[in-house]
């Protein structure tokens, strides 16, 4: 045996001995889990299965199904009752002290407002114009008024003036007169024909914006030539003569109304009050082409003085249509002034005599 063979034999023996006794392949007992089992009956198995089919933990909001209708939720379903549902779908139970939060935060509207998110997304999303809201779409109504009026509640009495209901209160110290609630009738701001109602949402015509008024022309400045010699001032009249002139002028104007003038808002309020009763719906085509000017006097409580109402002027139309137009204007003034126009009492002299020009031109295209 040569030296190399001996060295090799010693090295192999040493390696095998280290591997066997050096601890490299030492084995230890593994930890063992012990599970206890028991035999159950078929009824117990069904109960366990039912619980497993109950609604799971709510899914993320993006995938949550829309709330089912209230009547479905309120149906007795024991499984759902076991689930904690933050959305209070069932009617709140009567309690001695109702909790305001329960009323303020009904869960149903949120579910209704959110669009259902379980629908498969469309491959191509087309942007459609939003359908006009009820306020944008002209609605057919018996009445056409300057401003559209929403339909009143069914149990409210129609009237020109909107008033709240007043009922007898036995405990009240001062008893108010009982009255029904009234509201103005439903109105649209233009006539909607069947053709327009079906085909179009937007009104066909819109009032053309008024032309911006021209700027007031500044008063012409007197041209003064620089090289012109200043004219000698005229001799001033005597003070007494000037005072006498001013006094005479003031006395001439003494029959004019005095006091502060009506504001624009006060004039518009008067205009609106009459316009609400100016009904041109039954006027003929000729009468709708007729402008009438009506004059009348008011008493201090805003009522029309008897016999003061008269036709002052007219333009367009035939004598018959003038008469019809005047009748409509007269009805408007008398009807809406039956209880007295609301005008500032301290400015009575400003509104004691009134002239109104009734021009139905804009009503022809309604």
């Amino acid at each position: 045996m040569d030296t190399g063979t001996r060295i090799s034999a010693i090295a192999h023996v040493s390696l095998i001995g280290w591997a066997l006794f050096g601890g490299t392949f030492r084995s230890e007992p593994l930890p063992m889990a012990v599970q206890e089992v028991s035999v159950i009956s078929a009824e117990q198995f069904d109960v366990l299965t039912a619980q497993r089919n109950a609604p799971e933990v709510p899914t993320p909001a993006a995938l949550q199904e829309p709330e089912p209708p209230e009547d479905e939720i309120s149906a007795p379903q024991p499984v759902e009752e076991e689930q904690p549902r933050p959305e209070v779908a069932t009617p709140p139970e009567p309690e001695p002290d109702p909790v305001p939060e329960a009323v303020e935060a009904p869960p149903e509207p949120e579910a209704v407002e959110e669009p259902p998110t379980l629908e498969p997304p469309e491959p191509v999303t087309e942007v459609l114009p939003a359908p006009p809201g009820p306020e944008a779409q002209p609605r057919p109504a018996d009445k056409v008024a300057p401003e559209p009026i929403a339909p009143p509640p069914p149990d409210v009495k129609p009237d020109d003036v909107e008033t709240p209901a007043v009922s007898l209160d036995e405990g009240a110290e001062t008893q108010q007169e009982q009255q029904d609630q009234t509201a103005q009738e439903e109105a649209t701001d233009e006539i909607v024909t069947e053709a327009e109602e079906v085909e179009e949402y937007a009104p066909r015509t819109s009032p053309r914006p008024r032309v911006r008024p021209n700027r007031p022309t500044p008063p012409a400045q007197p041209e003064v030539a620089e090289d012109q010699e200043p004219t000698p001032p005229e001799p001033a009249p005597s003070n007494e003569a000037a005072i006498n002139d001013a006094l005479a002028e003031a006395l001439e104007q003494s029959d004019e109304p005095s006091g502060p003038p009506l504001t624009i808002g006060e004039k518009n309020a008067m205009r609106l009050a009459v316009s609400q009763c100016w009904n041109v719906g039954a006027l003929s085509t000729d009468a709708l082409n007729t402008i009438v000017v009506v004059g009348f006097s008011l008493t201090r409580d805003g009522k029309v003085e008897g016999g003061s109402l008269k036709l002052l002027d007219s333009s367009g139309g035939t004598p018959g249509s003038v008469d019809q137009a005047y009748q409509a204007a007269r009805r408007a003034v008398l009807r809406c002034g039956a209880k007295g126009y609301q005008l500032p009492a301290d400015k009575y002299e400003q509104w004691q005599d009134i002239e109104i020009t009734f021009n139905p031109e804009r009503m022809r295209i309604k």
């Binding site: 018996d142 009445k143 056409v144 008024a145 300057p146 109105a187 006539i191 024909t193 069947e194 053709a195 327009e196 109602e197 085909e199 003070n239 007494e240 005072i243 001013a246 006094l247 002028e249 003031a250 006395l251 104007q253 003494s254 004019e256 109304p257 005095s258 502060p260 003038p261 008067m270 205009r271 009459v274 316009s275 609400q276 009763c277 100016w278 009904n279 041109v280 719906g281 039954a282 006027l283 003929s284 085509t285 000729d286 009468a287 004059g295 019809q324 009748q327 007269r330 008398l334 009807r335 039956a338 005599d353 009134i354 002239e355 109104i356 020009t357 021009n359 139905p360 804009r362 009503m363």
Partner: protein, 439 residues
């Protein structure tokens, strides 16, 4: 000096006062009002005796229905009345009617003596506290009580609106019964509101498009009695018809009277071409008005008889044209999208009513005679054949529903587009022709 100062102070005081003054009364301009039915009260007319009680009630109800049916008026229920009208001559308690917002009041009385019926009535402007016009009375037979009620309505309408009424008028139409593929058609006439329907022909032959004469005593219509369309004229009172002879080998249809009733204008098919012709009724002579390869039909005279509006497809699609009554150059007046047809000139002369087909829908519309201000009043599966009320305020037309069981019904609509409503007839109805006010 003291006098001078006093005068100065007095002058300054008076001068400052008119700073806020205005010249004369407060002046306001009003250009916006409301359009709504005018509330009116029509308490039952007072009967002069027991025999008049039912007539008084019935006449009151017809008057109220006439006014309400216009869409311009709204009747106040008798439940709201504070005053009771127990005497025609008693003074009106205006305050009671003001309180219920009755702006107009119609009072009346009815007397029956044998077969003679007399109606008296008055119209009141409640808020002005005065009568509109003068009291009036109508007399006739008891059988004609509905006509007298319509005459009262016409007077009330006229006094409240300023334009003539249309209640005492009749409508000729084609009464239709049976399924769509086997429809039986009869010429019929009725009151404007669908009452008193009378049949003028049997259903042996198809009849089309009746047209009243200006005086309402005759009717033109088209019948297929011979297998080909022919024009007939019918005496309404005697229910006697006769054919208007045209050239041999031709077909004639779509006739209409001239305003003077002495001639008619109609369409005639000759050699496959349809043109407009005019026939003098006294002589029976016809003259050609158009001579084009296009189809010209549905002619209608202007109220003065000087012009004719008609339908022609000379531009490629049916459009509306106007030409002189004796023929000549025609001017196109319709330029909107779709097809236009069956034009009818308004009795007032300012508008033309028409049928329009566009995007699969049919419309009844109006436009000015120069073609401006086109306005569509209706929209449905099939609307066609407009006819004007005598006062030019209302249009009646045919509406047909879709499907094999579709039914033709007469409808009316105000020229504003409001008050669209069906006209009740015993069977279906089509091709209405509104006659003039009766004498």
């Amino acid at each position: 000096m003291m006098r001078l100062l006093t005068s100065l102070l007095l002058g300054l005081t008076l001068l400052t006062a008119p700073v806020y003054a205005q010249n004369g009364p407060l002046r306001l301009d009003l250009d916006i009002g409301v359009i709504e039915p005018l509330p009116f009260a029509a308490p039952n007319f007072v009967p002069d005796g027991p025999a008049a009680a039912q007539y008084a009630q019935d006449i009151s109800r017809v008057v109220a229905a006439d006014l309400t049916g216009t869409g311009l008026f709204r009747e106040i229920s008798s439940d709201a009345f504070i005053s009771r009208v127990s005497s025609f001559e008693a003074p009106v308690q205006f305050a009671d009617w003001k309180a219920i917002n009755a702006q107009a009041l119609v009072t009346g009385a009815v007397n029956v003596s044998g077969n003679r019926l007399t109606v008296r009535f008055r119209v009141w402007d409640v808020f002005a506290g005065q009568e509109l016009g003068n009291g009036l009375q109508f007399s006739g037979t008891t059988e004609g009580w509905r006509r007298m009620a319509h005459k009262v309505s016409d007077q009330v309408y006229s006094r409240l609106t300023g334009e003539g009424g249309y209640f005492d008028s009749r409508v000729a139409f084609v009464s239709e019964s049976g399924p769509k593929n086997q429809r039986l058609k009869r010429l019929a006439i009725m009151d404007y509101d669908g009452a008193n329907v009378q049949y003028l022909t049997d259903s042996a032959a198809i009849v089309l498009a009746p047209r009243f004469s200006p005086t309402g005593d005759r009717l033109l219509y088209t019948s297929y009695e011979t297998g080909q369309p022919r024009i007939y004229v019918l005496d309404v009172d005697r229910v006697k018809q006769s054919e208007l002879k045209t050239q041999d080998g031709t077909m004639s249809f779509s006739p209409r009277f001239s305003p003077d009733g002495r001639s008619i204008v109609y369409s005639l098919i000759q050699g496959g071409n349809t043109d407009l012709w005019k026939m003098d009724l006294a002589s029976g002579q016809s003259v050609r008005l158009t001579n084009t390869p296009a189809i010209e039909t549905a002619p209608s005279y202007s109220p003065d008889g000087a012009q004719i509006v008609f339908e022609s497809d000379r531009s490629g699609t049916p459009q509306l044209y106007i030409m002189p009554a004796n023929g000549g150059e025609a001017t196109r007046i319709s330029f909107g999208q779709g097809r236009y047809g069956t034009p009818v000139w308004s009795p007032r002369g300012d508008l033309v009513a028409f049928t329009k087909q566009n995007k699969g829908r049919f419309h009844i519309g109006v436009m000015r005679v120069d073609g401006s201000e086109e306005r569509l009043l209706t929209s449905s599966f099939l609307d066609e054949g407009p006819t004007w009320s005598p006062n030019g305020r209302v249009i009646m037309f045919t509406r047909e529903t879709q499907g094999a069981s579709g039914r033709s019904t007469l409808y009316s609509v105000d020229i504003s587009g409001r008050n669209l409503r069906p006209v009740r007839t015993p069977d279906g109805g089509s091709d209405p022709s509104w006659g003039p006010l009766q004498n």
